[in-house]
C-alpha cells in the first residue's frame, strides 16, 4: 500500500503514488519514506531537463515516483551510503514544474518552495516533503541500498536509486495548496516587534 497509516498517526509512504495516495497526505503529516526513491540535485536536474529538451528518454520514468534532493557522500566499507541528508529545495524550483507535468508525485528536500512550485503541486496533485536538515548521518541509517542509474560522471550529484526504510520526513506542501511552514510559524511570529517588510503578508523573497 503506497500510504499506510500507522497506529501513532504517522504515514508510511512508498512509491508508486497515485493521485488518491497524494490526496491522503496533508500538510504537517509525519511520514516514513520506504522503498525506492530517486536521488537528484542541481547538476542532475539540469541534465534531466536537457535530455527532455533533446528528446532523450529520462533515465527513470517519473510517473508516480519520489525524487529526493540530496548528494550523498561516499560510503565507508560495510555501509550502503555515506551522509545522505536533504539539500535546499528552492534551488530546484526552476526544474520542478516540468517533472511534475510528467507525473512525478513526491519530492523530498528541505526548506520552502516558491509559489510556482506550490501551484504546480496543486495542479498536478503532488506533494513536497521535508527531511531533517542537518541530519545527513541519521538519514543514512535509513538507507538500505543505493545504485547509480545515470550521469555517473557527476559523482555525488549522479542520479541514484535509493532503497529506503522509514526515512522520517514531514509534509510541507500538499496538493490542496497548504504550506505547513507558513502554518507552523504563524502563531510564533511577533509582527509587533518586526519591521514592516518582515511582517505576515509581506512579499516573501521567493515570491
Amino acid at each position: 500500500m503506497p500510504v499506510e497509516v500507522l497506529e501513532d498517526g504517522r504515514k508510511r509512504v512508498s512509491a508508486p503514488l497515485f493521485d488518491e495516495d497524494v490526496r491522503a497526505l496533508h500538510a504537517g503529516d509525519v511520514v516514513l519514506l520506504s522503498g525506492a526513491v530517486y536521488v537528484a540535485r542541481d547538476a542532475a536536474h539540469k541534465k534531466l531537463l536537457e535530455d527532455l529538451d533533446a528528446g532523450v528518454p529520462l533515465p527513470f520514468d517519473p510517473v508516480g515516483q519520489i525524487v529526493y534532493y540530496a548528494g550523498p557522500t561516499p560510503e565507508r566499507p560495510g555501509n550502503p551510503i555515506g551522509s545522505a541528508g536533504p539539500t535546499t529545495a528552492s534551488r530546484m524550483d526552476r526544474y520542478t514544474p516540468r517533472l511534475l507535468e510528467l507525473g512525478l508525485k513526491g519530492i523530498v528536500g528541505k526548506g520552502g518552495r516558491g509559489p510556482v512550485v506550490r501551484d504546480a503541486l496543486k495542479e498536478h496533485t503532488a506533494v513536497y516533503m521535508a527531511a531533517l536538515g542537518g541530519g545527513g548521518a541519521l538519514a543514512a541509517l535509513q538507507v538500505r541500498s543505493q545504485r547509480v542509474i545515470a550521469y555517473a560522471e557527476l559523482g555525488p550529484e549522479a542520479v541514484r536509486e535509493l532503497i529506503l526504510q522509514d526515512l522520517p520526513a514531514w509534509v510541507v506542501n500538499d496538493c490542496e495548496g497548504r504550506d505547513f511552514y507558513a502554518e507552523a510559524t504563524a502563531p510564533w511570529r511577533r509582527d509587533d516587534r518586526l519591521p514592516e517588510s518582515f511582517r505576515a503578508g509581506a512579499k516573501a523573497p521567493l515570491d
Binding site: 542537518g134 510559524t185 510564533w188 511577533r190 516587534r193 518586526l194 519591521p195 523573497p205
Partner: protein, 71 residues
C-alpha cells in the same frame, strides 16, 4: 567570542537587537515554529577603506540563500 557579547557596547546593542528581531520571526527549529530561531548573534567589526563597506553574514545552511537586503 562565542557566548560573549562584543566588548564595544554599541556593537553589543546591535547584536542584541538582531537577536530579538530574528527570534521575533517565529521560524523556530526546522521552520516548524517556536521562540528560538537563532541561538546567538555575534557581530565583529573592522576598519575598512572609506569607499568600501564590506559585510559578510555567516549562518547555517538553508535560509539566507534566499534572503534579500536593501542597503
Amino acid at each position: 567570542m562565542v557566548g560573549q557579547p562584543n566588548p564595544d557596547p554599541k556593537v553589543a546593542a546591535f547584536e542584541a537587537e538582531l537577536f530579538e528581531l530574528c527570534n521575533a520571526l517565529g521560524i523556530g527549529p526546522q521552520s516548524l515554529g517556536g521562540t528560538q530561531t537563532v541561538l546567538a548573534v555575534h557581530v565583529e567589526t573592522m576598519a575598512t577603506h572609506i569607499a568600501s563597506l564590506p559585510v559578510a553574514v555567516n549562518i547555517e545552511c538553508h535560509a539566507h540563500r534566499t534572503g534579500t537586503k536593501v542597503i
